[in-house]
């Protein structure tokens, strides 16, 4: 009897990760032909359709500057800043990390785990905002439903500061 329970627990444990819904985001940071290039600051968050609830997913900023000096430009991601950026204490576990070079970058978020956590069912918009020192600023939006009922791929594209943003959902 005891054995069977253990076995059941083991089966459930191994099955659980496969049951957790996944949200993957691929962002293309374009190579820009400019005289003075700085890597972009990038923020990514989910907003409920009514705009109320905000879930922070990722913030990339210059973490190498002395005395956390890179935080000075966080406010230049203006939309993110208004959507809770200004209330965050950075660095923030599971959310903040260093800026990244031009190229394709993948991020993977799993239901139940930070920073996605227990996201309530509903219609959301994924926002990706990029801002570059001595450069421009751009926001790309991708609508999505959570939790996903089936595997789905969707996306959008920026004009200059951001290339393709692809969202893959897995139930």
């Amino acid at each position: 009897m005891q054995k069977r329970k253990l076995l059941l627990a083991a089966v459930l444990a191994s099955a659980l990760p496969a049951l957790a819904a996944e949200l993957s985001v691929k962002i293309d940071i374009p190579q820009l032909a400019v005289a003075e290039y700085h890597r972009p600051y990038i923020a990514m968050w989910l907003e409920k359709a009514d705009g109320g609830q905000v879930t922070q997913l990722a913030v990339w900023y210059d973490q190498k500057k002395k005395d956390n000096g890179g935080t000075k430009w966080l406010k230049d991601m203006r939309q993110w800043w208004r959507k809770g950026g200004r209330d965050l204490e950075v660095p923030l576990d599971a959310v903040t990390s260093a800026t990244r070079a031009p190229g394709l970058h993948s991020l993977n978020f799993v239901a139940g785990k930070a920073p996605l956590g227990q996201l309530a069912a509903g219609e959301y918009t994924l926002f990706v905002e990029a801002s570059r020192e001595a450069g421009g600023r751009e926001v790309v939006r991708v609508p999505l439903s959570w939790p996903p009922k089936e595997a789905r791929s969707t996306g959008s594209k920026g004009q200059e500061e951001l290339g393709n943003v692809t969202v893959q959902l897995k139930p």
Binding site: L32, A33, V34, A35, E36, Y37, H38, R132, E133, A134, G135, G136, R137, E138, V139, Q159, E160, E161
Partner: protein
């Protein structure tokens, strides 16, 4: 040990340069072409992160030089320096094109005094009196800067479009008060009066705050030091070049030593719709 101190010093100097470089210095004329019976122009001088958006500091108007359409020197009618900008008002008494320049020589010095590293930044003229004679391991880098814009009252002329012949300067080969979208504009870049080939020049439209995307173009001067700009939209533009060119050092690699002389040029040009 000595070379270690040196390279630390070079890094420290370069670090301060890159911080300063994130800010852009500019002149902004109220218009490039002024018509009418009583033409006046106002020019703002400031340092900021986004072009033509006030927000960091005013620029001092020391080193201001205004050349009138006959090639003579003129003084502004009034000047003002506030928190975010300096301004000058100029009555365009003569018909033709004026050149308004702000020329600077800035020194960055680093030295050891009683075993302690010190840094100093200021006008070249103050260098001798500000740095103690007993300073050791003195390293100085001088930046020659030129900020410029052109304005025309009535009919344009070309007297002020001749090179000054010193430092880094940009000579418009098409008339700078008559730039229009859809009409390519040619320029020649000179160092001490000689064409400077193979240097990358940044062409940046203002107003990025309201547009988001920067729309900057990087152009490289040809064998004659020339390049052609195709304006993407009507706007005030900032054209900038620095010599020697900035080098991008891969992460973890040591930075090259700071050049003893650096040159920086920024010109502001108005581009109107067709």
């Amino acid at each position: 040990m000595h070379s270690l101190t040196r390279s630390f010093l070079a890094v420290a100097l370069l670090a301060s340069v890159s911080v300063a470089h994130a800010h852009r210095t500019w002149l902004l004329p109220s218009a490039a072409q002024v018509d009418g019976k009583d033409p006046w122009v106002t020019v703002d001088a400031a340092v900021s992160e986004d072009l033509f958006e006030l927000g960091a500091n005013a620029l001092k108007l020391d080193g201001l030089s205004i050349t009138d359409p006959d090639g003579g020197a003129v003084q502004p009618n009034q000047t003002f320096t506030g928190k975010y900008r300096s301004s000058l008002d100029l009555k365009l008494a003569k018909s033709g094109t004026y050149r308004i320049s702000l020329v600077s020589e800035t020194a960055m010095a680093s030295y050891k005094l009683n075993g302690e590293m010190k840094r100093w930044r200021g006008n070249v003229a103050d260098l001798k009196k500000e740095i103690p004679a007993e300073a050791e391991e003195l390293a100085v880098s001088t930046t020659f800067g030129r900020l410029e814009t052109f304005v025309t009252a009535g009919k344009p002329n070309a007297t002020v479009l001749k090179p000054v012949g010193s430092g880094l300067e940009l000579i418009p080969l098409d008339h700078p008060s008559e730039f229009l979208v859809g009409q390519p504009a040619r320029f020649r870049l000179l160092l001490d009066g000689k064409p400077l080939p193979g240097l990358t020049v940044a062409v940046v439209p203002g107003g990025v705050k309201y547009r988001g995307v920067l729309k900057e173009t990087a152009l490289t001067t040809d064998a004659k030091g020339e390049f052609t700009v195709n304006w993407p939209m009507p706007q005030m533009y900032w054209i900038n070049a620095g010599y020697p060119a900035r080098v991008t050092v891969p992460e973890g690699q040591p930075r090259p030593p700071m050049p003893a002389k650096r040159y920086n040029y920024s010109g502001t040009f108005e581009v109107l719709p067709q």
